[in-house]
């Protein structure tokens, strides 16, 4: 932001918007789906599935890590990632409560 106004908003609002920001890029959605598709960790094959350079994919992975949506471990030369279901479920709840609080089942009035 031109001037960081995040402090002006509530923790709840920031949590939701941070999570939304984490999946606000189609590449990151694609990465999450790809990782979730497998039973085991993904170790390196993600770059081949995506239409992006390796360095770019690495950046997106870093963003997902920072948001807590995936977790990783180093296995030799390779880095392995899988979904972090704990935070994922937390965010699912955050989202559900957002939808519940905003959707009052009223018809739109204008």
């Amino acid at each position: 932001m031109a001037l960081n106004k995040k402090d002006s908003f509530s923790t709840k609002e920031n949590e939701l918007s941070d999570f939304a920001a984490a999946i606000s890029h189609p590449a990151r959605v694609a990465i999450l789906k790809e990782i979730a598709k497998r039973k085991t960790c993904i170790c390196g094959e993600i770059v081949e599935v995506l239409p992006l350079a390796q360095s770019t994919v690495s950046q997106h992975l870093k963003a997902l890590l920072k948001a807590g949506l995936i977790q990783g471990k180093v296995d030799g030369v390779k880095s392995c990632y899988c979904i972090n279901y704990k935070t994922f479920e937390k965010f699912e709840k955050t989202f559900q409560s957002f939808f519940t609080s905003t959707n009052s089942n009223n018809p739109s009035c204008c």
Copy 2:
């Protein structure tokens, strides 16, 4: 993006990321909550509730309109907004299916 790569991703992925982008700012989350809180349309009082300039709030409202999350009508000098429940519910489903598809109820493996 430095180079627009949106075409490289699926419609589903873009839909989800576009929606996420729409609520990826705490101000927009706050605006949605504020509008949803009321039974009737909000006509102008939003600016007073938010720690942002009028022009900035107007821009956020425009973004929410573009995403279809709110709808508005002009009432004299004032502009009135309310939640667009139709697209809201559509997005709720988009989100639920995203969570369903990614959450396989497996324990995180790394």
